[in-house]
Amino acid sequence: MSPVTILGLLINAVLVSTPPLLLAALGSCFSERSGVVNIGIEGMMTIGAFIGAMTAHYTGNGWVGFFAGGLAGMVFGILHALACITFNADQTIAGTAINFVGPGLAVFMSKALFNSSDSPSLTPAQKLPKMFSGTFAPGSFFYNVVETYPAAYLSIALVALIWFVFFRTRFGMRLRACGEHPRACETLGVNVRLVRYICVILSGFLAGLGGAFVTLSTVSQFRPSVIVGQGFIAIAAVIFGKFNPQGALIGCLIFGFCNGIKPLVGSSNVISPNLVSMIPYIVTLLALIFFVGNSRVPAASGKPFVKSD
């Protein structure tokens, strides 16, 4: 294989394994930045993965499934918002609850509908479409880099959009302020609860999309183990990226890259795939220790906001 081809394969692998993490991580950014810890990302991704696969199975349309997965995550986002914002619940506990209910419900529904914890395999037509199919010679650099899921490129474009929202719009300024000093925000007439509601619901939607991307792209069906851990890794990427969308992108790319090369390295049989799998976690820790330094959590993160009378 020429170096160019290998590079193409690598980019392809990264483009497929990064978007689920990235979408979920962007969701986590919204929630955390507005001051609500959302550890339930994992559960939201799992329910998104199932509803995405199920919807695509019944409608035959990958995009519809993708969107439905997002909506399913959003339902859990609403639950999380309700618990944390309206009922002042402990945010970590509410998130832990979602991590039990989300995956449980996904497998429960799969067994009820399909008599199996796995959903039926999706045909390529039922999955997310690829761009420019048939334009490039299979195996060529451009085949690997361009002829892939537009949803992957969309998720990366979303980073720029969310960066813009966070740092260049009035809403973004308010949501960041809600995470730092909600009391001051309220004094200035910002509806802290409303802003947080919007952010937490958005985080559910994005996490659901991330989950749906998994079942509608690389994996052929929903399985109980399809998400396992990716939600937590997305949260890790966000802390790594200091709660900024662009930082989270770098974190997700590290994990995506290592996940992507796993099959390539694993097939060579030189290094144990288990050791290769460890690399992203060790790299993240080392990067934190030596390069990134303190990742400061938004000041009001995790604290319920009780409106003053």
Partner: protein
């Protein structure tokens, strides 16, 4: 006063448990399963024979340990989401010592337990060090360490010297001297019965004593309430964080050892995270982080897991157990609202 709060906490937990079961019943009705049948199976699956009760206790033992681990760290305000990883390295250490060190039983079991504790301490103390010395968010490093433990364990299981030939994807069996099996008159009833449960109860009381009756416990709680106030009183919060995270890790590691020495006798390759650590979070939450309460909530979870494993016999998806547990935690999380409502009602009554 304190008694009152304790009681009301317990009441709220009981209400949450009832709501959890009601929600599970509604879901079962949605897929046209009679919840009566399902719950009857769950109930008889745990209580209809003495044997089943013993099995539930066996299932509960590792959960009590991870529950204690999480509850202990909660006291200092640290969320030990890494109990999963500490549990895994604990079971790995216990398993290796159990296979390769050949000493009499009276030394072997304590040696395995110590090794598991040491591994758990290491796995948690490094995270504590990173938090204290480098300011790295402990939730992040705990998650990283969970996965490193996961892959490390899978790696070790597959090393030829450790791997059992033709034994599937698992290690060799631990030596008989390392087993914590209960006396034969009990194992005749339940073949997995082991000392782990009694050890768990002993640890629960030890943890309770440490938190409530010792200077260290006071310092832990002080830091948990307010780090700055504790510093002002001359307590080094960094030292306290390290101590509490280490002890928390040791408890989770012990849980892993109990699982190996008491029940499985070997370590299998994981397909996904086993979830003992995450279930420990639930155990701690249901117990409101009370160490003695962890015994009961651990038993509850153990019984649900054991009874739940029989649900498929009557055609019920056993995921309903996780859904019920999740719903219970969700309502415990928002239970402050119930308390407000109850208080308001009481006040209204007086007026």
């Amino acid at each position: 006063m304190k008694q009152k709060i304790l009681q009301s906490n317990m009441l709220l937990t009981l209400i949450s448990i009832v709501i959890g079961f009601i929600f599970g019943a509604i879901l079962l009705l949605c897929i046209r399963i009679n919840p009566g049948v399902a719950y009857a199976k769950l109930f008889t699956g745990v209580f209809s024979q003495f044997k089943y009760i013993l099995y539930s206790a066996v299932y509960a033992s590792p959960l009590i340990f991870t529950g204690l681990s999480v509850a202990f760290s909660f006291k200092t305000g640290v969320f030990n989401i890494g109990a999963e990883g500490q549990f895994v390295v604990g079971s790995l250490a216990a398993c290796l010592i159990g296979i390769f060190v050949d000493v009499p039983a009276i030394l072997h079991v304590p040696l395995c337990l110590l090794a598991a504790m040491a591994a758990g301490v290491l796995w948690s103390a490094v995270v504590g060090y990173l938090k204290v010395a480098r300011g790295i968010n402990e939730v992040l490093s705990y998650i990283m360490f969970n996965w490193i433990a996961f892959y490390l364990s899978n790696y070790v299981v597959n090393i030829p010297a450790v791997h059992k030939e033709g034994g599937g994807e698992a290690t060799k069996d631990i030596l008989a001297s390392a087993k914590m099996t209960a006396p034969s008159f009990i194992t005749q009833i339940c073949s997995y019965a082991n000392w782990g449960f009694l050890l768990a109860i002993a640890c629960a009381f030890l943890v309770w004593f440490t938190i409530e009756k010792t200077t260290l416990g006071f310092q832990l709680r002080a830091v948990g309430h307010s780090r700055t106030a504790a510093e002002y009183a001359g307590i080094s919060s960094n030292r306290i964080f390290l101590t509490s995270m280490s002890i928390s890790g040791a408890l989770a590691g012990l849980g892993g050892a109990v699982q190996i020495l008491g029940m499985s006798g070997r370590l299998s390759q994981f397909a996904g995270q086993e979830g003992y650590g995450f279930q420990g979070i639930t155990v701690a939450l249901i117990a409101s982080s009370n160490p003695v309460g962890c015994i009961f909530s651990g038993l509850f979870y153990g019984a649900m897991k054991y009874g739940g494993s029989k649900l498929s016999i009557v055609g019920v998806p056993n995921e309903v157990v996780n859904i019920i547990m999740g719903t219970i935690i969700f309502f415990i999380a928002i239970s402050q609202v119930f308390r407000l409502l109850l208080n308001r009602k009481k006040k209204g009554g007086v007026a």
